[in-house]
Symmetry: C2
Subunit: 343 residues, 2 copies
DNA sequence: GGGGCTATGTAACACGTGTTAGTTTCTTGC
DNA sequence: GCAAGAAACTAACACGTGTTACATAGCCCC
């Protein structure tokens, strides 16, 4: 094994030709005689030479890979089925177009710092607050990007979901069933929420719930809000606490299916029947939710489509075809078996 | 927005200094006076300059990212919770060491072709048959790599799981319960299996089942084998077929938890009770399996650890610290509620 | 036999960076 | 006042590739 990787100059020297000839042998076979081509390939084989991806990319000006700027560390992202689905959608497009997918977590807790360390043709930016400088940085630098799960922003392509409408619909559904003591299981908004307020999808979903409450003449005082990290265990823990204190809710409205699973776990352990004693709803409609028992009533958002459309937009932007498209995807309430009228 | 991205030469010209000064302003602040540094940074800000990752990587000789060579297209990989878990383990190490993660699917159906298109410091190679040239190509080229879910191979670091022992144990468990009509739900071995035979984990698991059968004096004729793609729906479909034809099995031994879920779905739909009428076992012990109803009896393999150890080995190899370590991880039979004696 | 064309190969440039060796200027100590 | 040294900055190289412009040889046809 050579200590230094072989380069095209080494091959050229070994085959007794110029470096250009080596490049032609690999990329433009007709520009060179068959005999010397054979000789060059033999020398390359001998030396274990393969063109360096970096050199090629630098020269070509394209990396054939798209980056996903993630708001959290990889370990946390990959344990969340929501992101698996989303990446699957983006992956479909990558498969089709021959792109590779770079997962780029924050560097030193900063999404901003991660940007200049990723060799990609463009970014899908997930769950970023649009006023925090990252977006300005990206557009200032002239790199194609698409926003996901952020707030809509002129001048930047984005794919949004009608979170507010979806949340309004499910809240209204529970209220119309007659529920009046609601608990909302919300994903943890992060450390900066107290000073900066809610942002993005979370803000929109909470606003949707407020809409529904207002429509039936109730205020936020009617609901109890628990904010927890998006894991099944945290949903379980929070629900146990909710049921133990004060007057327990008759319905748990979770803003994520994962949290809803945890809520049902807790209720079953407490021997509280779902839905006859307490109703539970989710948000996302992960594929598992249809198999879950009881089958979960939830708000479907087209996660895979979101990933697919985001990647499509990005590739269009990379090719310079289209500029700044926006798309808002609809949601739909999927009523299954985890909800009913209060006792 | 400038048509061409600003380069360090542009900044140098704008600030009236040399290109080296620009580099120092960003990387070695003390090598330059505070005044000119300010001037350079101002010019950079004005022009929207950020150092090109490719240039930096080429010069530094390191990309700070590790590649995962995948055996299937991204869309199929990311719909499989097994890979989510595995990537989570690798992601933990990446988070810790500041690496980024590149998902590299086959290019034109060839894992081999994908290699020279990935700008990474090393590869984790998943589920590759070791005699197919890809491994030779990698070691010939001198790129660090670690094998996962392959056959053990001298001269190449790898992380393996005792698939054979795990499969033997669960098969033996079912046989000892008294089951004699077994159905094995196996993952699809791919188009080349008929000519090349089984490989890697699948081959080892089937061998483990054969071990168990031999121990109690039975042969492969006692089991029915169904090979299906690893999705819940395919597991469901295959089980419906199994139960409809000939004399139905009293136990379904799935080689993947996903397939086991599908099997239970099918049995429940047929109003066949699990486990009193038919027992079902899985393989992997995904986190959902503990929440599944009935709680799934399965073989636990430490998927997350596998990912973590693979990434650790790879990073060691990249740093040149350690060479060719092997690790074989143990499995354990987790007996839950989806199995019992035959009626 | 000479002009025009093709085949073959090479030198030079471009991509964008970090860093080493070297030059100039300014400060310091005696 | 001058040698020695530090500070500030620059020219040149290295990383590894693809490609354009150019040189040389061989061939065909009139």
């Amino acid at each position: 094994m050579p200590s230094r990787r072989a380069t095209s100059s080494d091959v050229a020297a070994a085959a007794g030709v110029s470096r250009s000839a080596v490049s032609f042998a690999f990329n433009n076979p007709h520009r060179i005689s068959a005999a010397t081509r054979e000789r060059i390939l033999a020398a390359a084989e001998e030396l274990g030479y393969t063109p360096s991806p970096l050199g090629r990319m630098l020269q070509a000006g394209t990396t054939n890979s798209i980056g996903v700027l993630l708001p959290q560390r990889l370990a946390r992202i990959l344990e969340n089925p929501y992101y698996s689905r989303f990446l699957m959608g983006a992956g479909q497009v990558c498969d089709q177009e021959g792109y590779t997918l770079l997962l780029s977590p924050p560097l030193q807790d900063s999404v901003l710092k991660a940007i200049p360390y990723a060799a990609v043709d463009g970014f899908i930016v997930c769950g970023l607050e649009t006023d925090r400088g990252e977006v300005a940085e990206l557009s200032r630098r002239g790199i194609p990007f698409v926003l996901i799960d952020s707030d809509r922003m002129p001048g930047a392509p984005s794919v949004e979901v009608d979170d507010r409408g979806g949340a309004r619909e499910v809240a209204r559904y529970l209220l119309d069933l007659g529920h009046r003591r609601l608990a909302v299981l919300s994903m943890d908004p992060g450390a900066e929420a107290p000073v900066r307020g809610y942002r993005g999808p979370l803000a929109r979903r909470l606003a949707g719930i407020a809409d529904a409450l207002a429509e039936v003449g109730l205020s936020w005082d009617a609901v109890r809000l628990a904010e927890v990290p998006v894991t099944r265990t945290e949903g379980y823990r929070a629900t146990r606490e909710l049921m133990a204190s004060g007057e327990p809710p008759t319905a748990v409205l979770a803003l994520s299916d994962i949290l809803a699973y945890g809520a049902v776990d807790a209720l079953q352990e407490l021997a509280i029947d779902v839905p006859s004693e307490v109703s539970v709803t989710g948000f996302d409609d992960l594929s598992e939710s249809a198999w879950f028992r009881p089958r979960l009533t939830t708000v479907r958002q087209p996660i895979v489509s979101k990933g697919r459309i985001a990647a499509d937009f990005l590739i269009s932007a990379i090719r310079g075809e289209d500029q700044h498209p926006h798309q808002t995807l609809g949601t739909s309430l999927i009523v299954r078996e985890s909800t009913t009228k209060p006792a």
